[in-house]
Amino acid sequence: MGLGPGLFDVLQEYWPIFLKGTIGTLKYAAIAVSLGSVLGAFIALINLSKNKIANTIGSVYVNVLRGTPLLVQMYIAYFFLPIAIPVLNGVTKEVYVLIALILNSSAYVSEIIRGGINSVDKGQTEAARSLGLTASHTMTKIVLPQAVKNILPALANEYIAMIKETSLAGTFMLYELMYTRTLLANKFLVWQPLFIIAGIYLVLTLLLSWIVKIMEKRFAVSD
């Protein structure tokens, strides 16, 4: 038994499958990072607050999610959540895996946002408060606009990292790039999909990294 069909033959015949996988990957990464950002912003505020109990909860949250493998988190979400929260019983399995991705991403994003906020000079907050600005106006009008230029490129990098992380979702039959391997293995294509998948991941991450670099340059100009 030889190598079988070459890469281009496989790509030519099955490109709709790879395209659907690529779209799935981009979609799951986008959902994970965008919803993870909303949740992450809350976690960041909890970690930045002066309340010690809130700080402790926030730091446990971040440490647990960053300190355990995403695959383990997905398994727990996949097998434990349906038992623990019966209300969720009707929803598709996709939702459980996505919950794991979102929670995982929120832990990383919360640290990005916290770092971005901390990077703004404390004098800015003092000046705003001394003018009589409320704490929330100080955050929304003074600190966050200045933090964004540090946060946005880091968030884009988190999206790039998440594109690779979502490959684990294929384990749970979610239609993304890695899942195309399972589909094509049924057609006795063993090695070709692996190289094609790796190539697509590489193109995606290199392309997005290049966009982030341009973005960072733009922000640097406005300094």
């Binding site: 000079d121 004098g123 800015q124 003092e126 000046a127 705003a128 408060r129 001394s130 003018l131 009589g132 600005l133 409320t134 106006h137 009008k141 003074i142 606009p145 200045q146 300094d223």
Partner: protein
Amino acid sequence: MTNENNVLIETVDLQKSFGDLQVLKGISEKIYKGEVISVIGPSGGGKSTFLRCLNMLEEPTGGKVIFEGNVLDAKSTDLNKHRQKIGMVFQQFNVFPHLTVMENITLAPTLEKGVPKAEAEKEAMELLKKVGMEDKAQEYPRKLSGGQKQRLAIVRAMAMHPDVMLFDEPTSALDPEMVKGVLEVIRDLAQSGMTCVIVTHEMGFAREISDRVLFIDGGVIAEKGTPQELFDHPQNARTREFLSQVL
């Protein structure tokens, strides 16, 4: 002027500690409306901390600050209202780099006092004219010199119509050739009747514009008096030693 009805700010046994380090060891002082007060003293003596307690940027760990008859409390929501009447100018300017000069000035009045934008901008232009910066209204702070940034910071505080202005070493971070322009703006303010509390190392300036001078050392007011009393006839040995080093 030093009538009891005219007290603007009073501190009662004001104390502040950072961890084990007690920086203010009980300062009781009254600041009267229209007074210009200079606060001098060695670095680390507590003069900046004293100033920053007056608008609760530093929360006192003991004693209290009474502003216009209200005890300031960092936890009360009204603190923002009181702070609107206490302008503050910082050593490092702390202008908002992401906002234009105009936006720096109009942000707080429009946001916190509901002043219509057009009105706030009109007033901002008048204030900018006074400090010779009307042509800079649409610039971002990165295009300004240090002296211009500090004048902007003063104008930004003035736009809130404060009852008192606090200056925390306003010229210490400036290049020497920028100092004069900023001091002139402060002098104009002081002469217009604005109550001013100025932490400064500019002894000549302090002597010229102050009604009273406080010498803070070791967390207490070691000596106070008119500029003549304090600079020409200091009573305290520490005051004499300090003045002999800086004059």
